[in-house]
């Protein structure tokens, strides 16, 4: 037990069970109420989002017999952004006999998350990880195999065991298509309705319980009402608050933010993961960033010139004038240090003037040594498609000259606060996958995002939702309830307000501006002064937005500019909470680095005395400060230690 000065908020009951950690989930599952098979049909579940979490939840709940409706922002659930995950999915199978176990995965995840996750949740995640692989294989996910026909694994993101399952560089795609096909099977069986091209604009509550949603039909522009007995937000992360990120263009914070405004607390928004190996920005037209799989660091060596401002082409810089700074600073982990460490080191070098390429904001990831050692064929077999993708985007051939890479926002660990049942502070409103905050703490390990999304959807929510449905006596609610009238009026008013500005600038231009402020001042490393300045700037952009936004066309019609504007408006509000959270957390941990809190060697310095907690923020109304609620985090099993990758 750690000694913390954090006072627990009475509003945050984690419902995390006590007792021996390995037995907690089993005991909790037994204690949860059940819904009898014949009764399940009576319960309507509304799933918002159809990525890994939403697709797996929709399929599993429909299989159980619930009446499920899934809202999908795309034309088809198969296009959700989970599809873009490249590297793999962790599971504590110990197929490689290298000492892995549920406990070790639990331990690595808590430690990797820099001690800012809830132990009970993380252990459950590690426990069900093994079931996920079985389930996916049963669905026909073509994971890589060895010649004996057994599943292959690789070590990923610096893990010292090989526990990552993968399907070429398209693991997310294959897992999502597996979950999507399970959904389509339920659609055929008539137990699941998929509503494509729909975006949630408000959560509707009746008697304090989430009972449905107001939704925009993106094809027609009509507002639609969906009533339900439980609402599951599986709407992903908010990395696009930085405008440039590896997220897809439609990824947004709107569902989570509108839920926040209806009383769900938002936890740890400042915990953002920056991925170290992305293709650098090339110009101001840039609309997104492309990630190059982390596996590249297994063979690539990261370097910059030893002399600042050295503009010679890479192959003209002799070996002794190159600074392999990761190998220099972290001799034991070298190029395989965790993501946050690698990212900050790249920023540090570029800020100091050692960056390469036309913009000077990039470092080299060099495969020439690996090619000399293993031969081009071996490297091509391992990374062929990644190299091809790099060449397609940049026009450069990584076989003959080093790649240029730079960190980019990739994943957000923060999200809606949820208890052990994945329920937010609004009863009946659940958050799954990247949309919640629970399992990764302040930093996510590579190949753990897919694991968490599927764990929540396949193996957690099917149990915990019954606790809500059977435990609370829910009265039937129809879409003609006055709560829907009120919510519709609110949504209509905010849409009208956006349409009514009739200024001169497209929503995207404000978003880009916001992203720059976030990246420069609320990004990889943060300072008090920078954050305070960012807050002023964010408010400025917000004002400009509400004064000069231009949306052509009609609200009651397909209108992509209106869709974008709604999302940007939410990002502009959310960014402020994000910066405030970063300002309040006076420590460095995981993806959150405050320059004031670092060791003499420039490494992150955690403050377990004062900040060993999750900060959950409560909305108090427009233009009013949020209230911070703290959930103290107790570490009974993995003892608090400072991370070291020296």
């Amino acid at each position: 037990m750690n000694d913390t000065k954090t006072t627990a908020s009475p509003r945050l009951d984690s419902k995390a069970p006590g007792g021996p950690i390995a037995e907690r989930w089993d005991k909790h599952r037994f204690d949860l109420k059940l819904v009898a098979p014949a009764n399940r049909r009576r319960f309507k579940v509304l799933v918002v989002g159809t990525g890994l979490a939403g697709a797996s939840a929709s399929a599993s709940l429909a299989e159980l017999g619930y009446d499920v409706t899934a809202l999908c922002i795309h034309g088809s659930p198969r296009r959700a952004h989970s599809i873009a995950a490249q590297g793999g999915i962790n599971a504590a199978k110990n197929y490689q006999n290298d000492g892995d176990s549920v406990y070790r995965l639990f331990y690595d995840t808590v430690k990797g998350g820099d001690f800012r996750a809830r132990e009970s949740n993380v252990h459950r995640l590690a426990q069900v990880s093994v079931n996920i692989i079985d389930q996916c294989v049963a669905q026909g996910v073509p994971f890589a195999r060895d010649y004996g026909g057994m599943l292959d694994n690789r070590s990923f993101g610096g893990a010292q065991v090989s526990r990552t399952f993968y399907a070429r560089g398209q693991t997310g795609q294959q897992l999502l298509l597996g979950a999507y096909s399970a959904m389509m099977r339920q659609v055929q069986a008539g137990r699941l309705r998929v509503m494509p091209e729909r975006e949630l604009l408000d959560v509707v509550k009746v008697d304090g319980i989430a009972r449905g949603a107001m939704v925009r039909n993106l094809r027609t522009g009509e507002l639609e009402r969906f009533a339900a007995d439980a609402v599951l937000l599986c709407t992903g992360g908010y990395g696009n608050v930085f405008y440039l990120s590896t997220n897809a263009k439609k990824s947004n914070v709107t569902a989570s933010w509108r839920a926040t405004k209806r009383g769900a607390f938002f936890a740890n928004p400042c915990f953002t993961q920056i991925h170290p190996t992305c293709i650098p920005v090339s110009g101001d037209y840039q609309s997104k960033l492309t990630l190059m799989s982390e596996s590249l660091r297994n063979d690539g060596r990261v370097w910059v010139p030893k002399a600042a401002g050295d503009k010679r082409p890479a192959n003209q810089i002799p070996e002794d004038e190159r600074d392999y700074y990761l190998e220099r600073r972290y001799p034991s982990f070298g190029n395989l240090v965790p993501r946050d460490v690698a990212s900050r080191a790249a920023k540090e070098r570029c800020d100091a003037g050692f960056g390469v390429g036309p913009t000077g904001v990039a470092v080299y990831l060099d495969f020439l040594d690996a090619i000399a050692r293993h031969g081009r064929a071996t490297i091509e077999a391992k990374y062929g498609n990644l190299f091809q993708m790099y060449e397609r985007i940049t026009g450069d051939d990584p076989y003959t000259k080093p790649m240029r890479i730079y960190p980019a926002v990739h994943y957000t660990m923060g999200g809606l606060w949820v208890d052990y049942n994945l329920e937010t502070t609004v009863p009946g409103l659940f958050a799954l996958g990247e949309a919640n905050f629970s399992d990764h703490g302040a930093n996510r390990l590579g190949a753990s995002a897919l694991m968490q999304g599927l764990a929540d959807g396949y193996f957690v929510i099917p149990y915990t939702i019954a606790g809500h449905l059977a435990g609370r006596s829910l009265q039937p609610v129809s879409t003609s309830h006055e709560a829907f009238d009120a919510a519709e009026a609110d949504v209509r008013a905010s849409v009208d307000r956006l349409m009514g500005i009739r200024g001169s600038r497209p929503a995207d231009s404000f978003h880009r501006e916001l992203g720059k402020v976030m990246w420069d001042q609320v990004g990889m490393s943060r300072t008090k002064a920078g954050l305070e300045d960012a807050l002023v700037r964010i408010r400025g952009i917000r004002e400009a937005f509400w004064g000069d936004l231009m949306i052509p066309g009609d609200a009651r019609d397909l209108n992509m500019e209106l869709e974008t504007a709604g999302r940007v408006a939410d990002f502009l509000e959310f960014a402020e909470l994000f910066a405030n959270d970063a300002l309040t957390r006076e420590e460095s941990c995981g993806g959150h680095f405050r320059e004031e809190h670092q060791t003499a060697e420039g490494e992150a310095k955690r403050d377990d005395e004062n900040f060993c907690h999750a900060s959950a923020w409560e909305y108090n109304g427009a233009n009013k400060p949020f209230t911070e609620h703290r959930e103290p985090l107790e570490f009974e099993y993995v003892h608090l230690t400072q991370r070291s990758y020296k």
Partner: protein, 258 residues
């Protein structure tokens, strides 16, 4: 560093298809694009056009897009008569402007097939693919306690071949590029993916019959083996999946006793 490393730009004449809805007539709209960076992607060039249109109070060109890294399958433009443009194995979002010449006229059209009705401008409705998938593109394995993942060994070759077929991103370029608007490459890819794995065997025959039935009722054309589909596929899926589909379908309908 390559020759066009520094701020090279090109000028293009863009002929973009505009159409209010599936039923409405459409026409090309001409835009002179000046100073397009060769490092921007095709969609980023379209973003620039749209920003200009919005600033002028005009409705932007509607096109589908999301991940912009070639995997979600949303983007769908026929560029100068080729689905996703001329680059092999490249989706529109990964097509970069360095592949165009300054002064070129570029025609941009939507996927054209009756089974993919136009929603607006360059955006089409591909829900036919979802209906084909729901007819049988799955393994019936409820979430629960399936056997251990290593219980059934799968040879590396089988697994690789299944993955080759499973790489399909469902973009529909195969239909768009096919002179007959046939969906055989899409359906063949899913049927082959599951036919090449032991998990797919129990439902193999039901699946192929149901999916072909659904495909036919969606009004896709018949395959006449032009193989344009495979050439247009951003994932390079081969027409071997079509042969597999044919073989499995014939076997299931003509050879099997039930």
């Amino acid at each position: 560093m390559s020759a066009n490393e520094h701020d090279e730009t090109i000028d293009l004449t863009l002929k973009v298809w505009r159409q209010r809805s599936g039923g409405a007539p459409g026409q090309f709209e001409t835009h002179e694009m000046k100073g397009v960076s060769v490092h921007s992607s095709f969609l980023e060039m379209m973003d620039v056009l749209n920003a200009t249109l919005v600033r002028a109070g005009k409705e932007p060109v509607v096109f589908d897009h999301d991940c912009r890294e070639g995997i979600c399958g949303s983007c769908s433009m026929v560029i100068n008569g080729q689905a996703h443009g001329a680059e092999p194995e490249t989706a529109t979002c990964q097509l970069h402007m360095r592949k165009f010449r300054s002064g070129e006229t570029v025609f941009v059209e939507p996927w054209r097939a009756d089974s993919f009705p136009v929603i607006r401008d360059l955006m089409v409705d591909r829900s036919a693919f979802d209906r084909v998938m729901s007819a049988g593109g799955y393994v019936s394995a409820n979430t629960g306690s399936p056997p251990d993942a290593n219980a059934t060994p799968i040879s590396r070759e089988d697994s690789d071949q299944a993955m080759d077929a499973a790489a399909c991103i469902g973009c529909g370029a195969c239909v768009a590029a096919c002179p007959n608007s046939s969906a055989m490459l899409f359906v063949g890819a899913k049927v082959s993916h599951l036919a090449r794995l032991p998990q797919g065997q129990p439902e193999r025959e039901r699946r192929v019959v149901a999916m072909v039935q659904a495909m036919d009722s969606e009004g896709f054309g018949n395959c006449t083996n032009h193989y344009e589909c495979s050439k247009a596929c951003p994932k390079g899926i081969g027409v071997d999946v079509i042969a597999q589909l044919n073989r499995d379908y014939i076997k299931a309908t003509v050879v099997r006793s039930n």
